[in-house]
Symmetry: D2
Subunit: 360 residues, 4 copies
Amino acid sequence: MGKAHAFAYRSALAAFPDIPVPMLKMIADVNAAGAAKAAHQYGFEKSSGNWRDLINDPSIDVVSITTPNVLHKEMALAAIAAGKHVHCEKPLSPTLKDSEEMLKAAETKGVTTQVGFNYIKNPMLKVARAMIAAGELGEITGFRGIHAEDYMHDPANPWTWRIDPSGGPGVIADLGSHIIGMARFLLGPIASVNADVETVIKQRPKSRGSNEMVPVLVDDIARILVRFEQGFGGTIEANWVKTGRNMQLGFEIEGSKGSLAFTQERFNELKFYKAGGNIRDKGFTTIESGPQHPSYGGFCVAGGHQLGFNDLKTIEMAEFLGSIASGTAAGPDFREACEIQKVVEAAILSSKAGASCVKI
Amino acid sequence: MGKAHAFAYRSALAAFPDIPVPMLKMIADVNAAGAAKAAHQYGFEKSSGNWRDLINDPSIDVVSITTPNVLHKEMALAAIAAGKHVHCEKPLSPTLKDSEEMLKAAETKGVTTQVGFNYIKNPMLKVARAMIAAGELGEITGFRGIHAEDYMHDPANPWTWRIDPSGGPGVIADLGSHIIGMARFLLGPIASVNADVETVIKQRPKSRGSNEMVPVLVDDIARILVRFEQGFGGTIEANWVKTGRNMQLGFEIEGSKGSLAFTQERFNELKFYKAGGNIRDKGFTTIESGPQHPSYGGFCVAGGHQLGFNDLKTIEMAEFLGSIASGTAAGPDFREACEIQKVVEAAILSSKAGASCVKI
Amino acid sequence: MGKAHAFAYRSALAAFPDIPVPMLKMIADVNAAGAAKAAHQYGFEKSSGNWRDLINDPSIDVVSITTPNVLHKEMALAAIAAGKHVHCEKPLSPTLKDSEEMLKAAETKGVTTQVGFNYIKNPMLKVARAMIAAGELGEITGFRGIHAEDYMHDPANPWTWRIDPSGGPGVIADLGSHIIGMARFLLGPIASVNADVETVIKQRPKSRGSNEMVPVLVDDIARILVRFEQGFGGTIEANWVKTGRNMQLGFEIEGSKGSLAFTQERFNELKFYKAGGNIRDKGFTTIESGPQHPSYGGFCVAGGHQLGFNDLKTIEMAEFLGSIASGTAAGPDFREACEIQKVVEAAILSSKAGASCVKI
Amino acid sequence: MGKAHAFAYRSALAAFPDIPVPMLKMIADVNAAGAAKAAHQYGFEKSSGNWRDLINDPSIDVVSITTPNVLHKEMALAAIAAGKHVHCEKPLSPTLKDSEEMLKAAETKGVTTQVGFNYIKNPMLKVARAMIAAGELGEITGFRGIHAEDYMHDPANPWTWRIDPSGGPGVIADLGSHIIGMARFLLGPIASVNADVETVIKQRPKSRGSNEMVPVLVDDIARILVRFEQGFGGTIEANWVKTGRNMQLGFEIEGSKGSLAFTQERFNELKFYKAGGNIRDKGFTTIESGPQHPSYGGFCVAGGHQLGFNDLKTIEMAEFLGSIASGTAAGPDFREACEIQKVVEAAILSSKAGASCVKI
């Protein structure tokens, strides 16, 4: 993920000429040699094997934190204390309690924050959000969202920090936070959940090929009934054992006047159905991304050429830098990350109580 | 639906040469002239404006009931009492209690029964079921099913018998029973549910264009967390207000070794992912229906020509007639219909109790 | 193909109540026992091992010819001489010369004819044609058509009557005639061609598994540049060695105001692009077949349920029977079949002359 | 296109750590202020309003030419004379004759060259090429390629340099060169063509909204029958008036053992059919791009995240820089561009001679 950030900072000005000019100052990594190599490769001035060097450098205004979740808090608090603006990868921290402490620190200090929910930076999702906000779908009646991948589907996949409970929950934090964040981005707050959160693969090898098995204490699949504050309902699934799926992050939204369907598997497309008109011709229209959909035009002047994942990350970083200049959070900031985490923790609580309803 | 049955009985022998030869005897409809016209058009010998004529005709062995739900029970009981084999459209009756009475009558009398869950007669679904049964997907870890259409999405759509509570629940019985039945067909019994069942459009015009509004007492959307007896979980949605959808009946199933994806919108296709092999070439394979997938070959000797909806209905009727001859229920019979209805009623119960867990 | 006809005649009245009532009289096949079995299975009154019995039966008004191409002419001429209306499978005969003789006989006798170009009976293609005729695509600028399958792709596939030159050309007649006919149905006559027609697999086993090889004298692939009478151009491909394709019969048509895309692989869908309107929302709309697209409603009252191949055949036969009653050819009749064959023969001629331009 | 180059040079090292480190030296543009702004935005050291400043700067080793076609030759010859390695956008120049002069100059001077056929830098196309080269499709039997867009489809679109004949042919050079190059990349040289190359919109406004019309002297659509040196045939279409298409650059390739299908509209996917195995499961597999497909891994370590257009351009530039270091042309170089242009000019020649066969 550090790589994605480096790519993004390098390209941000090229796509967004009006943002403050990013100066690539320092890469820190526990492996000092790796940090030096990365700094060379990504065009940063300096590197260090000690992340505190970065915090202590007064010439640095902005910090990106892309370490394992368990380390976010300490780093973020230090960076905030030093008055730096902080971008932190998601989930913000292993627990809502810690995240709220980070939020409080940032707001007290007055620094700008952002959290790495990159997928919603997609121009097509901004179109979707604008359609919904303008009432083009009419009154919304339902949401059906999912983020499923298969990187943990093989029981032979060994223990990693991702499944150490010290890092927080499992898939519901890792992938679930993306689809929860996307739901909120498009449709506003979630008011309550009933959830079924489970560990499918109960133990994993300590390391690849090892015979020593470690019990898995985090979740593999979360299935959630949600009710939004606006009144309508929906479902959300997070799943990292869905064999064959690389990036099934998607949703269907329907309203009284129209519907949307989207999947990150083809994220340069948005499917849109608009009720009314000649019944002979009705159906979902597949809209392809183009310069008519901001911020596509920053990357290419012609439609249909397609953005890639790193371009979404570039939009994210450019918006973050722009928000520092303007003083207006581009979002999702630490506050939004906490709101997402509230849903995550409510879902876990619900599941432990037999999927009973938990208000947020 | 009567039309679909007539089509199916007419074509059954052509596609299935080994079944008992169907003799098309009588069509009964409350509208005697309509019945006469239909008998002419569909090639039946006689017609009547009184359904009891059909029951009382000793030359008739098999009866199809395709009336509104509220009439099923009386007709079925009369037919069973007369010793006729009965095919009844789904849902079997408005309440589980009534359905169980019908089941008991049929089993006591020893007649063969079937209920109109036509979509599972699709050759591609038989392939899916066989794959799962043979363990080709490995250990199943999840199911994600839906049946959504939009025929009730417009608030201007007036009251119909479909939304009169005397006919039973709303979408959960009408569409939900299809996806519940499909889930059971593929994966076996459902052990428990947590459900959120809601009425989205609270009142409708008494008739088209009328200013008089009638409160809607049945559900428009049902969202259900399910747990199967085999241990894995899933979600099911039934929705008849999903704007833009004509036939979104589909599922995704994943297991430790593979995955399936299907939608009735393209029901001559089955998407199959098989783990293992050359990682360079991995992905979902789109299998097109052909004579290698029974019972496709009864309709066409060459692959890719595609079956239509009426062909599924023909398979259903042919299997029913075959099951009468063999004395082995082809399914889904009255018993299976009751099992499906148990899930429906459990979901409604759960929803009334705040989506709490209800065992089946 | 005889089976498809039988299915279609059986179902025609059920879908089209206003046509003359079909009476299923006789099936003839060189194998008398097979004919008897088929007559039983498809509900025909009689059968015979001698096709002339069918011709000689004065109670029979309509004949369907579904034998190998080489036999069409003799049978059709006999049927016409007996005053019967004739439906003949495509291609009409092995040579244009023979086909024109058949046409002349039919027109002289005044019988109604039809030829089995079933795919254009698809409701979605009637929509496409209507759109074009109404100018909804603006001025047409191009056509890109193909009919590719793979039933001959395996060099181990043995000799069959399909590749005996006595039956006429190879894929250009067998599949090419479909896409040529579809092009004409949608866009009118083809004025000239430049074609490259080739035999890819030069010899085949005399029978399955045999070591004796027979030279293949008919074509496997035809690629054609076409120019329509209306002035615009296009390409057509026919290919029966396209590995992996079961039914790639499709086209793309563009005009100054819109475009269409269609494939028989998903023949209940038509993709439509209409220029103009909000650029934010532009894209191809996937229209799903429904009762708003005649003749879908004869089969099912609800959209999205889908027609199958045999339903297309039913529409074809119903239109044929209707045309006999009305005295107006429903098409494609023998005349249209001859026009299609002119394109086929012009393409072969062009190919032999180095793909030089041949006027039609 | 200059922007795409700038993006690519900026990101090249980040994705390809082993290439020579790119130093971003100078941007030249006829608009000096624009050049200065671009240099700032893309992180170049200097800028100039005079492209010769760039040629004359001895610290510059590598030049990218992204001007209108008509200017390529003069600039490239000057750069070559100055001993610089040259990347030139496609088509190399308006005429084959000029391009060959550029080629000769480059080879005489011994500089490394590359031409901007970016789409073949796609990891999925490298997979396709490797499959074909390894015989995984068996003996190839056909190719069906197209590059269609719609940026000229509207007759109200005014004259631009793209349609000034001084810049060379129209769509056949602009888009046709991409699909011709792709065909050659995958399948080797094209031996002969029969082509139909036409101007559909015969005149255009001199400027947007003007009443003064200018005759259009370049082509809008080219349709070509091709025969490859290896013996098999195919078709190629280039079309810039195909309403509704943003990026229909794609192909289908079939061989005796398998098939491929690709479209740039979903360029992170490759559809692959492999003959043999369990007939029940046969179909096209949709392969999603991932780190198992070089050079995807340079951009992202996880599959399914997707590359964008600018990433393809980054691969292109990185390979160019790598080829300078290694002294081995990464291709497509000036020589390959001339080979592509030979096909273009042969097609135009063929079309003028009634689509007769022209050898290359």
